[in-house]
């Protein structure tokens, strides 16, 4: 009996070790062979876990970006047309899985750059790994300031970039919008306190709004997975605000808005980029009509790049691309642009080229990097929901 | 009297892990009789009954009215005509007396038979009728034993397995219960009685088997067993 267990244990250990290393080695061989005319880019997306919709959009846009490029003949690098290959890894929305995905992409798949992860929880550990490995990474969607800053040294990380604007900027824009455009004096806030993004938005909004002479009449929270907001909304209703700021994910928004209406709340809602998904229109129906929210981009934008992107995406996936899709597409665009500019597919060259990008015409607007930080300079779009569509309302540029 | 063998057990063995609780037992029960199995705690009596009613796997054969019971589920065996009053009574404490009886009529499809048996039970145990709405967990030990026997009557069947009906009962109650057992026997049921109270058991039984550590060590008619000095010393305390 003892011997049997002995053998099982040894066997299991040996098998697992061999499996991991051969899995790694075989990939290494193939990548060595293929390296000549293929550039490999890694994608880390939240395919499973708490925000699978984000991962799905990211995956779709990534596949589309690469397909579009390859169909057009590939990327010209140093006079040679090269194809792009992507390797998509799931991080299940968890930090440790994001880290192992990143490590696997770097050491075994030998990718030259990484797009993703989208959640800050995954993006931060990933950025630490790419920093050590000197591989550039662009997170499409992580708005946490710490993703691109090395907190210990208090200076920007060299290899971490993002395709989106920062939360603080968005929060300020929204607070001023509520104050000046919507003429609100009293605002109520309802947000998901277990989400770092949404809590950040709520805090910045509150500070800016109060600094500019407004008052916050109710500051209510819930946690992820809650579906019943009646108690919080009843409190909000009692505080009689002029506007309700609702930094909530688009899947929660319809519930909140509908429940508010059922409780007889007529105060307008104001949303953040977390609303920006075409799903919201389906989910919310008429309930969200007339509300404003900020976004990274507008699918109804008149920019030719955006129009083409939206058309292609809808043709491929039968739904309107959300901001994650647009940002992922832009992240790829930035990497392609950088490779072209650098004339090389070396990670270091790509990194340097990204940091020098100025005025890249992306789906989500013009994107520039200052060369000092990984945070782009780009504008916030305010959209209005009208007749079951997102309509461009205004742009706010920094 | 038609002396037909109703239950026949051959080479029955049951083991839990490495422990043989019952070790190659062979015995018969003749129709219309009261047969008793006596022996101390742990001698394997309860295990034996549990094997007969299909609750535990065993080796050997058990046949009832000529039908081999091996591989049958307890549900099939019980509806086939064997009832089993388990040790410790095992009444369902959160159910009322009436509910206990109703539940044990699971295999009784005919409403008329159900009412008939209910009347019979209440005539045997008038106390149960008084308490039919009471939660059975609050009954006294004797009443619980009555209910347990009542349930078996309700289930029907021609052979009743009784596991230690006297346990925890005062002498007066024991007498009463044994009287009921005799009555039930007279009404046509065959009874296989497992008992520690050897005196009482042998008193009403026609035939007895003595179990020791999973084996039958003596058997014979009640006169033979009561007369055996060894048994008298070990089990009758005389």
């Amino acid at each position: 009996m003892k011997n049997k267990l002995n053998r099982i244990l040894m066997l299991a250990m040996a098998v697992s070790l061999v499996l991991i290393s051969t899995a790694g080695c075989s990939k290494k061989d193939s990548s060595v062979k293929a390296e000549a005319d293929v550039i490999k880019i890694g994608v880390i997306a939240e395919l499973t876990g708490e925000i699978p919709a984000v991962g799905a959009s990211c995956k779709n846009a990534a596949e589309m970006a690469v397909k579009t490029l390859n169909d057009s003949g590939g990327l010209e690098v140093g006079g040679k047309k090269m194809k792009i290959k992507i390797q998509i890894e799931d991080n299940a929305g968890r930090a440790e899985q994001a880290a192992s995905s990143a490590q696997k992409l770097i050491t075994q798949e030998k990718v030259v750059a990484i797009i993703g992860p989208n959640s800050s929880g995954g993006a931060i550990p990933t950025s630490e790994i790419t920093e050590t490995a000197k591989i550039p990474m662009i997170t499409p969607w992580s708005t946490n300031p710490k993703t691109t800053i090395d907190t210990r040294l208090g200076k920007p990380k060299r290899y971490a970039f993002r395709a989106c604007y920062l939360d603080s900027f968005q929060g300020q824009v929204l607070a001023l919008f509520a104050k000046n455009t919507l003429h609100a004096k009293k605002a109520a806030i309802l947000f998901d306190s277990s989400s770092e993004v949404l809590k950040g938005q709520a805090e910045v909004f509150k500070n800016t709004f109060e600094k500019n002479g407004g008052s916050v009449s109710a500051y209510e929270t819930y946690t992820q997975g809650d579906r019943n907001f009646s108690a919080q909304l009843t409190n909000i209703k009692n505080s009689t605000p002029d506007v309700i700021f609702l930094p909530s994910y688009y899947s929660d928004v319809p519930l909140e808005v509908q429940q508010a209406h059922r409780l007889g709340i007529t105060t307008p809602f104001l949303g953040s980029d977390a609303w920006a998904s075409s799903e919201l229109l389906k989910l919310c129906g008429k309930d969200c009509d007339g509300y404003y929210f900020s976004s990274h981009y507008s699918a109804s934008s008149k920019s030719p790049d955006t129009i083409k992107f939206v058309k292609d995406y809808e043709a491929l996936y039968k739904n309107t691309p959300d901001d994650v899709a647009a940002l992922t597409f832009d992240a790829f665009g930035i990497v392609f642009e950088a490779i072209k500019a650098a004339g090389s597919a070396e990670s270091e060259a790509i990194r340097n080229a990204i940091s020098k990008i100025k005025g890249y015409h992306g789906v989500t607007g013009n994107i520039s990097f200052t060369g000092e930080t990984g945070d782009p300079v780009k504008g916030v779009v305010i959209l209005e929901i009208k007749n079951g569509a997102f309509n461009w309302y205004t742009d706010v540029n920094p | 009297m038609n002396k037909q063998i109703i239950l026949s057990v051959k080479d029955l063995s049951v083991s839990y892990g490495n422990i043989n609780a019952v070790n190659g037992i062979t015995f018969d029960v003749t129709e219309g009789q009261i047969v008793t199995l006596i022996g101390a705690n742990g001698a394997g009596k309860t295990t034996l009954l549990r094997a007969v009613s299909g609750l535990i796997p065993y080796e050997g054969t058990v046949s009832f009215s000529g039908i081999n019971l091996k591989g049958k589920t307890p549900h099939e065996i019980i509806s086939g005509g064997i009832t089993h009053v388990p040790e410790g009574r095992a009444i369902f404490g959160t159910l009322t007396v009436m509910e206990n009886l109703e539940l044990s009529a699971w295999v009784v499809k005919d409403k008329g038979i159900y009412r008939e048996r209910l009347r019979h039970i209440f005539s045997l145990f008038p106390k149960l009728e008084e308490r039919k709405k009471q939660l059975s967990g609050t009954l006294s030990g004797g009443e619980q034993q009555m209910l347990a026997i009542g349930r078996a009557i309700m289930t029907g069947g021609s052979l009743m397995l009784l596991d230690e009906p006297s346990m925890g009962l005062s002498p007066l109650l024991v007498k009463e219960i044994f009287k009921v057992i005799l009555d039930i026997n007279k009404s046509g049921k065959t009874i296989l009685l497992v008992e520690q109270n050897a005196n009482m058991a042998l008193h009403i039984a026609n035939y007895g088997y003595v179990l020791e550590t999973g084996k039958i060590v003596f058997h014979g008619s009640k006169e033979v067993l009561s007369g055996n000095p060894k048994i008298r010393e070990a089990y009758l305390g005389v």
Binding site: M1, K2, L5, N6, I8, L9, A12, M13, S16, L19, I20, S21, A23, G24, L47, T48, P52, I88, E89, D90, A92, R94, A95, E96, Q97, A99, S100, S101, Q103, K104, I106, T107, Q108, S120, G121, I124, P125, E128, T132, A133, N144, K146, T151, R152, S193, S194, S195, E196, K199, G200, T223 | G17
Partner: protein, 325 residues
Amino acid sequence: MKVVASAKKLAVPAILLVGCALSCSVSNSNLVDRYVELVVMYVGINFILTLSLNLVNGYMGEFSVGHAVFMAIGAYTSAIITVKVFSLSLGPWIFPLAVLTGGMASALAGLLVAIPSFKIRGDYLAIVTLAFNMIVKSIIENVDFLGGPRGYLGIAKLTSLVWVFFFSFMALWVIRNFVYSNYGRGVVSIREDETAAIIMGVDTKKVKIMTFMLSSFFAGVAGALYAHLLQFISPKSFDILKSTEILIMVYLGGIGSIAGSVLGASVYTVLLELLRPLGIWRMVIMPLVLVFLMIFRPKGITGLREFKWFIPSAEKKIKLFKHKV
């Protein structure tokens, strides 16, 4: 004879030394892929977690479902120490101290579950541990000093293969010593028959306190290693899903066995990585594998048996036998 005896005496420090040296050279050379190294470190951390939960769920037979909470306490405590100390640039030698402090803090928290366990048992105790997990997670979310839901930042990467090896080995050695001491026997006697144990003079309260504290101590150590490996911790990393993951590793490997924890942690962690090519279907296949494994090996891979290296020499003769819990 004497040589053998003294060799045996030296075995533990020797293995520790050789293992440390080996893992040090492996991580400094490029012998092993960084990815493999990372996965091995995950295996190590998961092993510590699994073993520590095995102590409560396997050896003691309780059903704790909120083990990630102890990991969280260890992670946050140690992170605060290193972040604050490192801002004073005191050097990485403080790291083991921080890990141990994380463990201690976590052990103290373990007391909070140990005391209710005197009265509350089984599924009700499971709910107590679950509630504790939720409470602590919610507290972290609400305390700005800890970064709230944004997570705690600025943690240096101090966890290396050497430290993971060192602490895994310590966990194995210490828990093995515990299991084969009178405390350990007391723990198993509680699982087998708590009433009989207390009547036979086992101070069940003391044993429960020791077990919960030791278990949460090592969960805290694992949390500290985790924090300094990923350099980022947030309340989400220690939610009920993490707790469930640890539970699965314990029962997958086999309860009441150190070998079971080794196997459970490695099989689970490695399988999760190996199935990566399946993409989204990975998380569909994984639970199916688990369900089949439980149906065909209901007692886990080892099924209550122990690997002989993990048994102290004096106890080696004890026969291993499958039996029902």
